[in-house]
Symmetry: C2
Subunit: 340 residues, 2 copies
């Protein structure tokens, strides 16, 4: 049975807008939730706001992706930016453009995915907007909080002598994308491993707890790996006015990435260092605090790996150098890896 327009919106609102998370000292108090012209909150400290949009055919493919994953990923990607600031996510606002030919069941699955990501990350969806349009599009605004504005970690604080470290494992999302786009490649790895790789692409976790742990352990600059390690390190280098020297042989590459790379005729390093969307965190921190940071990240079940160091920008200018034993490398970026 096809739902009427308003009924679909009501069902989506119920799915996505339901249930506030437990109040915390940092999170904003919610005075007016969804259903009015605007939401009203009373933030307690500083507010951190990020936006992210996913567009069918660009960031995902409606034909091959589960609708639930599309919803999940849209929210997780926006939350990842908050993680990279060291903030605790509190509220989110979701704008959906739904094509007329999208079955109601898929629209609701998408809502289920948004709700699951919200619940999983402790976020309340306080507002939204549903439009009809030709291309499925999800635009998310995520709002987080820190006790004080001084607690945020920007991209701009890396200093010469700092170590560079990365959370978790890299390359899984890109390998997963290859498996989604070219299912015949899945034979290269055991099915359970293939499924783990696909899920890295489809339903990433925003590294909220790790971001807070790193902020607490003295991280001076931080960014989430959405565009790929090389590009994202470049953003930190530019904002901090430094040179980042990364040793590609130290990258923590996820199991199975090498096998997928081989059957796809790309290099492992293309998937781990250039293709993005792993949503791990890259940070610069004082060398003497690396052990403390490693322990803090380990205590929440994630690994932290030192992968390089921060150097002064002169004489070669701010930027990134990616090296392995063969010398300087320029891994192939995400766009070149995506199938047309």
């Amino acid at each position: 049975v096809a739902l009427g327009e308003f009924e679909l919106i009501d069902r989506l609102r119920e799915l996505v807008g339901g249930g506030s998370p437990a109040e915390s000292g940092e999170r904003a108090e919610v005075v007016v939730g969804s259903g009015d012209d605007a939401a009203v909150t009373v933030p307690r400290g500083a507010t951190v706001t990020s936006v992210d949009a996913l567009v069918d055919g660009v960031h995902f493919r409606r034909e091959t992706w589960p609708a639930r994953s599309i919803g999940w990923k849209a929210l997780a990607a926006a939350l990842s930016d908050l993680a990279a600031m060291g903030a605790t996510p509190g509220e989110a606002y979701v704008q959906l453009v739904l094509p007329a030919d999208l079955p109601d069941a898929e629209a609701l699955e998408l809502g289920t995915g948004l709700a699951a990501a919200a619940h999983g990350h402790g976020v309340s969806v306080l507002g939204g907007d549903v439009s009809r349009g030709a291309v499925l599009t999800l635009a998310v605004t995520a709002v987080g909080h820190v006790a004080s504005a001084e607690d945020v970690v920007t991209r701009g604080g890396a200093a010469a002598g700092d170590l560079l470290a990365v959370t978790g494992e890299l390359g899984g999302a890109a390998a997963g994308l290859l498996l989604l786009d070219r299912p015949e490649l899945s034979a290269a790895v055991p099915e359970a491993m293939a499924e783990r790789l696909r899920r890295r692409q489809l339903e990433p976790a925003a590294r909220i707890a790790a971001g807070r742990a790193l902020a607490g352990a003295g991280a001076r600059a931080m960014i989430d790996l959405s565009d790929g390690l090389g590009a994202d390190a470049g953003h930190v280098a530019a904002a901090s006015g430094v040179r980042l020297a990364i040793d590609l042989e130290r990258l923590p590459v996820q199991d199975g990435v090498a096998q997928v790379a081989e059957v796809a005729s790309v290099e492992e390093i293309d998937l781990a260092a250039a293709a993005g969307e792993d949503y791990e965190l890259l940070c610069a921190l004082p060398a003497e605090r690396i052990d403390e940071a490693t322990d803090a990240v380990a205590s929440i079940g994630t690994i932290l790996t030192a992968i390089g160091e921060v150097r002064t920008a002169s004489p070669e200018g701010a930027g990134v150098s990616l090296r392995d034993s063969k010398g300087e490398r320029s891994p192939r970026g995400f766009d070149q890896l995506r199938s047309p």
Copy 2:
């Protein structure tokens, strides 16, 4: 000369993100603006957040609308929701989906329109996101502030005995849309009047000052007229659990709307009471404060017109009654007026 992808984004960022407005006591302090993973602000009172999206072919037509107007309207529509809460807009976040065939010049014009609307309404654009995609889409998140959460005016406070009043004039946006869709109708009115009507549709003003004035003058419920008077009054009626009785003969209809309605073979009341996007404010306020509210709105150069009253919901239930001398009316809604 076609701009590269990153150059276009940089140019858009410069256009839209430039210049913070003067600090005010209510507005949030901006600690980190655009260019990092997220923006950081320190709000002073309560925060009011609204989202709105415009999609090509649904909310505007790329072929016939000036790109500047598309940018302007996307921001103004989101700000209008803040006006309806009695909030002062402070910050905005903009997500753009730009088709590959959109000329750079048009993308920049769109940015110019966003920037003009931001400047005109005293708003800083603190963040954004540009994606490529098949359908031009603008999703805006607008953030406003009030000194205290008790100062916001929701849809839910209308009480029996209150008067209903509307700011400004109605019907202009719908008449303007007809003129945009069917230019041959423009002969019905002098060109300067046609241009005023088109601009009501293309570049509406969010009634920020009027919203604050009405909140200060005791408005108990308020909504902006985006869906049309009948539909928006219905939202207030449902949220407040009351019946709204509106006298259609008292509506302040904009000059030229009657003439356009006649040549378009629709009724004036269809344009003024059912078609939306005038972005005027409808409020319910105690009868004894109507003179104070009228003066407050007049002092900022706008008119306030009493158009009906609030009654108890029983026995006929919460809802809206639209009447003129011929009796109960059901004006034709916006969707039916749009050309296919």
